[in-house]
């Protein structure tokens, strides 16, 4: 499968000349199966540009949401295929004990926050709660598990054949753990990410920043690397960059991380537009 990053920024879009290389759009990742099947992971502002590349197509699109924080759904109403009458689109999201996915998404896709109502979208739209067990979408096998992040939030493991991508863009597995990493069975996200060929993981903060933001649901680069080591990831992509981190800052974080020499895997700073063969 081929994986493309359309948005790598966390929390808030951060466009501008100072973020031109790593990108300013919020979370969105395209996953293409070998036969062309399309999965989209999250609907941050990056999904708008992805939508222009599939304009006018007829293939089914499955959009997998990790959670419904604004930075992961803000681009949804600007995803062109939603306005194509012949298009079949499935949106999958984490379950809630109280409201179904349609009701929760409609809070955003309705006035006064958005002019078009979810029910008025012309495509063939189906919404699903992600099931607790492994499920299949076309050629992909998908696993979704709740992970440590405020609210109902899942991470995903996408497999095609014997290759796997783990996607945990918002994840704080070190929360409350005295000596992170803990044992695998007590580590949030372990089963999703173990032995992944490509791990895309939250690395929003520096160690110093994290001390002031414990419990906000995101990881320091240090903890993200410890998690990647624990799960034996083969390639690690840092993701969900803090909106205050410009390109120069992200370069410094990347250089400092490499200088430790701790990584037992390929260390990749997530940049908008980057593609990976898995």
């Amino acid at each position: 499968m081929k994986v493309t990053l359309w948005g790598t920024r966390g929390s808030l879009a951060a466009p501008g000349p100072e973020t031109i290389r790593y990108g300013g759009n919020t979370s969105c990742v395209e996953v293409r199966g070998d036969g062309g099947a399309l999965l989209v992971l999250d609907a941050g502002t990056g999904i708008q540009r992805l939508g222009t590349t599939v304009r006018g197509g007829r293939g089914r699109i499955d959009l997998l949401l990790t959670h419904l924080h604004m930075d992961h759904i803000q681009g949804l109403g600007f995803f062109e295929p939603l306005y194509e009458p012949a298009r079949e689109i499935h949106i999958w999201g984490p379950p809630s004990p109280t409201l179904d996915l349609r009701t929760r998404l409609a809070r955003y896709l309705s006035p006064p926050l958005f002019p078009v109502r979810l029910r008025d979208l012309p495509c063939h739209l189906t919404l699903h709660n992600v099931p607790p067990e492994r499920f299949e979408i076309g050629p992909f096998e998908v696993e979704a598990e709740l992970v440590c992040h405020p609210g109902s939030t899942v991470g995903y493991r996408i497999s095609e054949g014997n290759r796997s991508l783990a996607y945990l863009p918002d994840h704080e597995p070190a929360l409350g753990v005295r000596a992170f990493p803990a044992k695998p069975e007590w580590t949030s996200g372990f089963d999703l990410a173990v032995d992944a060929d490509l791990l895309i993981h939250d690395a929003q903060y520096t160690t110093e920043e994290y001390q002031k933001r414990i419990g906000w649901g995101h990881s320091a680069m240090r903890d993200a690397l410890a998690f990647a080591t624990l799960v034996r990831a083969r390639r690690f992509v840092s993701f969900h960059h803090d909106p205050t981190h410009d390109d120069a800052m992200l370069d410094r974080i990347d250089a400092a991380t490499r200088a430790t020499g701790d990584a037992t895997f390929a260390l990749i700073a997530g940049m908008e537009g980057a593609t990976f063969e898995v």
Binding site: P95, S96, P97, P132, E145, L146, V147, C148, S152, L175, G176, V177, R178, P184, E185, W186, T187, S188, G189, F190, D191
Partner: protein, 129 residues
């Protein structure tokens, strides 16, 4: 060994940070964890006992009712929380692994995850005068 459910992981992390004795068991009744305050109450470190079956841990602490008779396993608050899916409270005596008898109050409640999955139960203990 596969990863525990996130709800159990978060419960363990919370228990690790609290100053009140807490027991965490999974849906089968197996003891998954007890925190440091519980270690003091029970007279043994969790790292030494590790995970135990419900039969093991309910026998190990030899619960005795206020009338002096043994408390059957099914009457313990954690057992009620697991099997009847409701909160329960009981005062009884235990003999810690250090051999010292203590009177404790125990409150337990079930942990129910999304989709009505029973994930386990939590017991909170107070040593009573």
């Amino acid at each position: 060994m596969s990863q525990k459910a996130i709800e159990l992981i978060l419960m363990r992390q919370l228990a690790s940070s609290l100053a009140m004795p807490i027991f965490l068991v999974e849906a089968s009744g197996n003891l998954l964890f007890y925190n440091e305050p519980a270690e003091r109450l029970l007279g043994s470190r969790y790292d030494e006992t590790g995970e135990m079956s419900m039969k093991e841990w309910s026998n190990l602490f030899a619960p005795i009712g206020e009338d002096g008779s043994p408390v059957p396993g099914e009457a313990l608050p954690l057992s009620i929380a697991l099997h009847k899916h409701r909160a329960a409270h009981l005062a009884f005596w235990i003999k810690g692994l250090d051999g010292v008898s203590k009177k404790i109050g125990a409150t337990a409640f079930p942990l129910q995850g999304q989709g009505a999955r029973l994930l386990g139960a939590v017991g909170i203990f107070w040593e009573q005068p």
